[in-house]
């Protein structure tokens, strides 16, 4: 009786978990022939995830020997949501989107405008604003199908990759979709979304028989580096690794980065310095319609490898010169990034936003012309790099 009451009473939203499959990564592409949105959903294979022999029936008779622990399904539609719903006829279980962790946008779609996608993510209750957005360079379908070594599910791998990269390099803007939306809506600021580059597979030679032999060791299917520059909601171009690094300096977001200098006594030896912390300050100087930006960057570093015979054990002119060189490297990065941004006419650093925030009156005057002003804004860079420590040793082993 009780069970009946429960069954009849309120099953408006009951979803038995086994009737759902979880979309872990979603990709949107633009189908050029038809102009439709194309969605790829990477779905976790519910049986494959059970792991550790917890699958019913134990080992042995796993029945459906699906090769991958995930499955990618795609569909087209006039709108992003329409495309998502067009997946339903193709799947036997209900797609559940709340666990989506990565949003891949194809370059084509990004150049066309990402607003429909953003709107979908803001509006739909299952999709979250805390996904990691990336723009894919290359074939999106291939990316979604790719198996990442060490990861059972590609989308989880991508999501992990794009968030942990900040602990080692500053070549990829790590952010949630929330930030993208906020940035889009803020005046004098343009969006930068990280790039994921699909690496080409070595095609097996046509005609060559697929030899049984041992399987080849897997290759990384994609590379996480660089970023797509947007003006309004449309992508206008790519930034290289180094330019993204420059962007990190300006934004004060560089967390860990590796810089390579030539050794001071210039014997062709190189030394590596790792940035451990950085901060930046942006100060607009507005005189009439002349706008200048002052950017002050401070970076702290430590020496990582240095085999040149210099003695860096005590304070010396040598250390100070290293600091100066380091600052120059950083300055070069920043100049490259700023030049590229000005070329794209996309204020990814938020120069305009800093005027808006601190000099609101000037901004009301400038805002309509900011698109023209920004490419010509001179930027004064003041970089102070300081090497704080040398790691566990003071100098290399003296080879005798």
């Amino acid at each position: 009786m009780l069970c009946l009451a429960v069954m009849a009473g309120g099953c408006w939203n009951v979803r038995e978990p086994e009737n759902l499959v979880h979309v872990l990564g979603v990709a949107f592409d633009l189908d050029e022939e038809t102009g439709l949105f194309k969605v790829y959903a990477q779905v976790a294979n519910p049986i494959g995830m059970a792991g550790g022999g917890a699958a019913p029936g134990g080992g042995g008779d796993g029945g459906a020997q699906m090769k991958k622990p995930f499955w990618v399904v795609s569909a087209r539609g006039d709108t992003p949501f329409g495309a998502m719903r067009n997946l339903a006829p193709l799947t036997t279980r209900e797609l559940f989107w709340a666990h989506t962790t990565v949003l891949v946008i194809s370059e084509k779609l990004a150049r066309r405008g990402i607003l429909p996608i953003i709107d979908l993510f803001e509006r739909e209750r299952q999709l979250r604003m805390i996904v990691r957005p990336v723009v894919a360079e290359g074939d999106v379908g291939k990316l979604m199908e790719a198996e990442f070594p060490l990861e059972s599910i590609g989308a989880q791998g991508m999501a992990r990759g794009v968030s942990v990269i900040k602990f080692q390099r500053s070549i990829f803007p790590v952010q949630f979709l929330t930030e993208v939306v906020a940035t889009l809506s803020e005046p004098g600021r343009e969006v930068l979304i990280g790039r994921i580059e699909v690496l080409a597979e070595e095609d097996p030679k046509p005609g060559a028989p697929s030899q049984p032999g041992p399987p080849k060791p897997p290759k990384p299917p994609a590379k996480i580096s660089g970023a797509a520059v947007f003006r309004k909601d449309r992508m206008v171009g790519w930034l290289t690794e180094r330019e993204v690094r420059g962007w990190h300096w300006v934004a004060g977001r560089a967390f860990r980065e590796t810089l390579i200098l030539s050794a001071p006594d210039d014997k062709g030896k190189l030394l590596t310095v790792e940035v451990t912390a950085s901060s930046s300050k942006m100060e607009p100087v507005v005189e009439g319609s002349n706008v200048r930006m002052k950017v002050t960057v401070k970076a702290e570093d430590r020496i990582q490898d240095e085999t040149a015979p210099e003695d860096l054990t005590v304070e010396s002119e040598l250390v100070r010169s290293l600091n100066r060189r380091l600052a120059q490297v950083i300055r070069n990065d920043m100049e490259m990034a700023i030049a590229k941004a000005q070329e794209f006419r996309a204020d990814i650093f938020g120069f305009g936003y800093s005027i808006y925030r601190t000099r609101y009156r000037d901004w009301t005057r400038l805002k309509d012309r900011w698109d023209e002003i920004f490419p010509k804004v001179p930027v004064e860079l003041d970089v102070e790099a300081s090497i704080r420590r040398t790691g566990l040793i003071t100098k290399s082993v003296t080879v005798r």
């Binding site: 009780l2 069970c3 978990p17 086994e18 979880h22 976790a44 519910p46 995830m49």
Partner: protein, 541 residues
């Protein structure tokens, strides 16, 4: 009309046949067909007569000459005064009986009285025994039996229409042992037993002030069970004492075999799952409660003492909290609060989350749950209900079974059945984990009656969670909270000191403060004397 006539006729016949006043002489005291209430009336009216033989005959008749009734006749000092003692075998100390007979015959003989005068003998007997034993004088059968049935021995003398009742109580009781249902790691090992006197003595030994007062009431028309209530005069509210007394007096019941009977009679409302008084078999718990101005009700024949009024937070406190050092004492109490909450809502929450709010779970966990449910034939609600029901059966079986095979059943039940059910794909491991966790959590409630409340509530929450998700759980919580807010235990709000919020008393709820900081007693129970101990006595180096 005919019907009425017949009915009236029947009534007349019935009343004729059963009316005690119309008995025939050969029927003796109790004509055939007397019902119990009528017998009670007869025995209530039965006076002792001056003739020993009549008295003994009456006693035999009233008791049906039960096999355990012992009657020993004697003559005082070989004189003409006949006497007899009446007792119940097994309820008295046999040595005391021998001593008594010796006293009544030889010792009485030594006194220089006229041994032919039965009244003088009676008085002498009374005088002789007063200094030695507790002696009472009774003049009717009811009074005599009242004492005899409690282990007294009645001494009757020919020619006297009174009897002496001498205290010779000496039945076997269980010795004081560690309470089985309420154990502590640190703390006393003594627990109450079935004998009320022993129990009050256990309490007396802990609180020696003369102001610890114990009063008794007899409850039950047939069992005539002694019910005693204890309180500290001047600390407990007089109104409360009077109220408890009145409520106990008002009870009209034929028998009280356990304090649970009383509980249902004297609680404020019966329409609740929550215990409105604390039931304990630990003397330290009772003593601590009395020191806070509460009241304890002892019942003859059960080790369970009722402590009242009580609050929800008190029910979640265990003696260890106070005996262990402060940090660990407070910590285990917090753990217990969490466990109690878990034991109510965890299965319901599981069902709600799994069926409605999958987004709340971490991705990997959710997918594992989904994978483990692959092939399980029931919806999650049914699955949980089945497992919970199964667990209740196991638990009940475990209680009922003889001790020796109890563990065997739990092994079969928990390990084999659970494991086999998972292997067979009947239930998913996640559900087994949830149910087991809930069960373990429910064992942490220090007062068993509270754990029972949680058991029932759990089923309600499973159904609510399964039907309406977290929204249903919230609905259940709101109703439960309102119910708790409206509950009172002997007029005191059940949720105090949380609601109404009594900031001063929060010192001893989720966590406790140091003993030297507990300078005040709970406001509601001990409003007469809030100061418990002096301030500023913290240890100093």
């Amino acid at each position: 009309m005919l019907v009425r006539l017949v009915r009236g006729l029947l009534k007349a016949i019935k009343s004729q046949s059963t009316q005690p006043g119309r008995k025939r002489p050969e029927d003796g005291l109790f004509p055939n067909g007397l019902d119990i209430s009528e017998r009670e009336v007869v025995t209530g009216q039965l006076k002792l007569s001056a003739s020993l033989e009549t008295n003994l005959k009456n006693i035999k008749e009233a008791t049906g000459d039960s096999v355990d009734l012992g009657i020993r006749r004697f003559r005082v000092g070989g004189s003409q005064v006949k006497g007899a003692i009446v007792y119940l075998d097994g309820m008295v100390d046999s040595r005391a009986i021998e001593q008594l007979i010796e006293d009544l015959t030889i010792e009485l003989f030594k006194t220089r009285i006229d041994l032919a005068d039965s009244l003088a003998v009676y008085e002498a007997a009374k005088e002789t025994f007063v200094p030695q034993k507790s002696v009472e004088e009774v003049s009717d059968f009811a009074g005599l039996w009242d004492k005899v049935s409690m282990g007294g021995t009645g001494a009757l003398f020919d020619g006297t229409n009174k009897a002496l009742v001498i205290e010779t109580r000496g039945w076997k009781t269980r010795s004081v042992e560690e309470p089985a249902a309420e154990t502590t790691l640190r703390g006393e090992r003594e627990g109450f037993i079935e004998s009320l006197r022993v129990n009050t003595s256990l309490l007396r030994r802990r609180i020696r002030t003369p102001h610890l007062q114990i009063k008794s009431v007899f409850v039950g028309s047939l069992t005539k069970t002694e019910v005693a209530y204890a309180y500290i005069k001047g600390l407990a509210s007089d109104d409360l004492v009077r109220e408890v007394h009145d409520r106990l007096e008002k009870i009209d019941i034929d028998g009280v075999l356990e304090s649970g009977y009383l509980e249902e009679y004297i609680e404020d409302t019966s329409f609740t799952l929550f215990p409105l008084m604390e039931r304990t078999e630990r003397p330290d718990r009772v003593a601590a409660s009395l020191l806070e101005g509460k009241l304890a009700v002892f019942t003859e024949g059960t080790p369970f003492v009722l402590v009242l009024p009580t609050q929800l937070s008190t029910l979640l406190q265990a003696p260890d909290d106070y005996y262990e050092r402060l940090p660990i004492g407070s910590f285990i109490r917090v753990v217990r609060f969490i466990a109690f909450t878990m034991s109510i809502i965890l299965p319901g929450f599981y069902v709600a989350v799994v069926n409605f709010h999958q987004e709340l779970l971490p991705t990997v966990l959710l997918m594992r749950i989904a994978a483990s449910r692959e092939g399980v034939p029931f919806p999650a609600v049914v699955e949980v209900l089945i497992m919970e029901f199964l667990f209740e059966v196991l638990r009940e079986a475990g209680v009922r079974l003889p001790r020796a095979i109890g563990p065997a059943v739990s092994i079969v039940g928990a390990l084999i059945l659970g494991d086999a059910a998972i292997r067979a794909g009947l239930v998913s491991p996640a559900v087994v984990i949830t149910v087991a966790l809930t069960a373990i959590a429910s064992f942490s409630a220090p007062v068993f009656s509270l754990a029972i409340a949680a058991r029932l509530l759990r089923f309600i929450f499973i159904v609510l969670g399964g039907a309406f998700g977290l929204f249903g759980i919230q609905f259940g919580l709101l109703i439960m909270l309102t119910h708790l807010s409206a509950l009172r235990s002997f007029g005191r709000p059940y949720l105090a000191p949380f609601a109404p919020l009594i900031a001063r008393d929060l010192k001893d709820t989720l966590a406790r403060v140091w003993w030297w900081r507990m300078t005040t007693r709970p406001k509601l129970d001990a409003f007469r004397e809030p100061k418990r101990q002096g301030e500023g006595h913290e240890p100093r180096v």
